[in-house]
Amino acid sequence: MNRLLSRGTIILVFIRLGLLQASWNFQRLQNLGVLYALGPALRRLFEGEDLKAAQQRHLEYFNSHPYMAPAILGAALAIEETQAAGGTSVVKAAEFKKMTIAPFAAMGDALFWGGIRPLAACTALFFAFRESLWAPLVFLLLFNIPHLLFTIVGFWLGYRRKHHILEFIAQKRLPDVAVRAKEMMVVLLGALCSLLVFTLLSGLQKSPLWAGLSLFFVFAAGWLFRKGASALCLLLIGAFLCILSGYLL
């Protein structure tokens, strides 16, 4: 197959993908971002009425996870390129985008927002409580290595494999990877909480049995959260009670 896009254009599209969410709106979400990113490539592939039609179809509703979108748009770009070269494709670019945005968003949310970000943060917090300024760097590294890997490799694989990227991603069972990351995070969080409680208790010279009480507090907070209290609200009530008991006792 003859490639119509130069390497420079493809790299420009990838760089522009970094600004995907810059004009996020409630009605069509990242649509304008998609046009902005694919724009340079579309202008090379089509002209006249074809170009107008291409720009219009990439201004449709689009909402995916910012780190998973490069894979989708890489594939969409390759599909457009095939069409411009006169070839045929199993799915059209617009259809492909429509079917992939929600499942890819689900995987990205679970993996990055639900799994890797809290895991990286939890690890960094150990450094923070040792008063080490490595904490922010540890967080940035742990988070951004998978982030960059997914965007760069995802974009490249999407562009090379077109719609076959779907089978590839489906095989990787990303939601299960996310569950593993979350499990690890919960274990680290448990250790961190117990460490903080113990440091505090030894500082105040209280009995270690107080640790049990703090455990009770964690589950009570969780129960109230399920009943609809927000984290902020729970914190402020807790703070009020702490200060009040400080005055009374």
């Binding site: 996870h65 079917m99 929600a102 927002w113 991603i169 489906a170 939601p175």
Partner: protein
């Protein structure tokens, strides 16, 4: 039957459902009823792959899934039911799929659709469909994620109608 949530969401399975509603309702099973989805096996495949293996997921046409519900297949599972639009909900309801609460999550904008909240866009047909459900005793409300406050359907419709 143990249906924990019935939701209308144009995006069907996505982050809000998996990360917020599934843990909130402790659902172990997701049922997607959509006729449109049946024509695209690729879409069905990738949608199934976006759910962790600890949660069962069933995707099928409205009539098919309603009859599976009636046969008692999902009785023992805490089930979350998803629809893509109000038309599918109504046809399931008419087929005898019984539920008493309906959650409106995301209903996308389109031609003739009027914004009723940040994420809900309705047209006159939607309103007719939902009114029929309300008349049948279904409590309709809108909430994107469990931490949002519930908004009742009646209060969402603009004063002058749609």
């Amino acid at each position: 039957m143990s249906i924990v949530l019935v939701r209308v969401d144009s995006r069907l399975i996505h982050g809000q459902v998996l990360e917020a509603w599934v843990p909130h309702t402790s659902a172990r099973c997701i049922v997607v009823m959509s006729d449109d989805l049946m024509s695209s096996p690729m879409e069905k495949m990738i949608m199934e792959a976006s759910v962790p293996s600890s949660i069962k997921v069933f995707i099928g046409g409205v009539t098919e899934m309603v009859s599976r519900f009636k046969s008692g297949e999902f009785d023992k599972l805490r089930t979350l039911v998803l629809f893509a639009n109000s038309q599918d909900v109504l046809s399931a309801y008419r087929d005898g799929f019984i539920f008493n609460k309906l959650n409106l999550g995301n209903m996308h904008a389109g031609s003739g659709k009027v914004p009723c909240s940040c994420t809900i866009y309705l047209d006159p047909t939607d309103i007719e469909n939902l009114n029929e459900l309300v008349a049948g005793g279904v409590e309709v409300g809108s909430r994107c994620v469990p931490t949002d406050t519930q908004r009742s359907y009646k209060k969402m419709i603009p004063k002058g109608g749609v």
